[in-house]
Symmetry: C2
Subunit: 228 residues, 2 copies
Amino acid sequence: MPRAVILLRGGLDSTTTAVIARSQGYELYALSIDYGQRHRIELRYAEQFARTLGVQAFKTLRIDLRAIGGSALTDDIAVPKERPLATMSEGIPVTYVPARNTILLSLALGYAETMEAFDLFIGANALDYSGYPDCRPEYLEAFQRMANLATQAAIEGRGHYRIHAPLLQWTKADIIREGVRLGIDYADTLSCYDPDEQGRACGRCDACQLRIKGFAEAGIPDPTKYQP
Amino acid sequence: MPRAVILLRGGLDSTTTAVIARSQGYELYALSIDYGQRHRIELRYAEQFARTLGVQAFKTLRIDLRAIGGSALTDDIAVPKERPLATMSEGIPVTYVPARNTILLSLALGYAETMEAFDLFIGANALDYSGYPDCRPEYLEAFQRMANLATQAAIEGRGHYRIHAPLLQWTKADIIREGVRLGIDYADTLSCYDPDEQGRACGRCDACQLRIKGFAEAGIPDPTKYQP
């Protein structure tokens, strides 16, 4: 079985991506990055999901991106709530983390090189996060090109790195339908930017709203645990 | 003054790069990455040098790359000593860290985006480290291209990222001559892969040997503090 590194967070997108990678025949090496998120509970979901899925290895890497600042997910800016869905895709959200996917993919690349894996999976999604520059195909292609110049394994011809973002053009409803078809219980995942201590979703942040809409559009009952 | 982010380690190359960036009129934001090196003393040198130079800000970011493994600098593989200079450039050294420059530049990019800096300086040097794939011009160009697709600041047209590696084609002697001309006291720097507790260099690892040779070729007395 070929090896793949999967960036796993514990939300809808990365868990579905992991299950897709598995369905394509990859042996999975999951990497979760704790980048100083306010809700580390996301990482507990990621680890539990990785165990349930039966990955080959699960690694957590801590990096305190608060040191370099710049986002509602890493600073103490309030997470916006109950924003109209129509305005979410306007401009770049305050939850944007500077160079986030570049940092995450770089770490995944380092892990992949160590493990002699050449396939990297990321749950990037361009439709629901149209404001994020690092969720676009041209960005991912540029990263892939760079990766194949960056590493000993590629230079020595032992393989060619490929960045897989299977959800890139999917709606949340598409993602949920495919995940359910592949057997995911989305009650085991967390998308919320502002969960409570018990890991229950707020139901009002951008991520929750997009997720709720996704389940509605997919015509699938939403199993998410919400705060009362 | 335009702002620049400089990846500062405390060795010969990054300190010289910092002084070159300063001489080109940049206001400097220094970023030191503690990636689980065995000798954190390197970071003390970096911070002290940054203070002496008078940078605008000095940030340290911890990331434990030992979690993803793969190198003498992060694992417990012995640092090679007294390797013949002629063999150093053969193949890729065991001190190679997977995707290191990609990870470091990604973090610098995140910091740069937060600070609205568009110039990133790195002390990459292709001659003395010919075995490192991520010290080659084609790699750095690919990274720069990717960076300009990755970030909000670039997408919104607020600037264009440039990766500067002024030492890329220089010999160690070139670097030392230019650094001395710009006023660096290299006694304040540390290149050694295996220093002692007092921060004194071993004199026998690859980095020490290249540095010793560089001072000899530059015809400049070597002020480095060596272990007795």
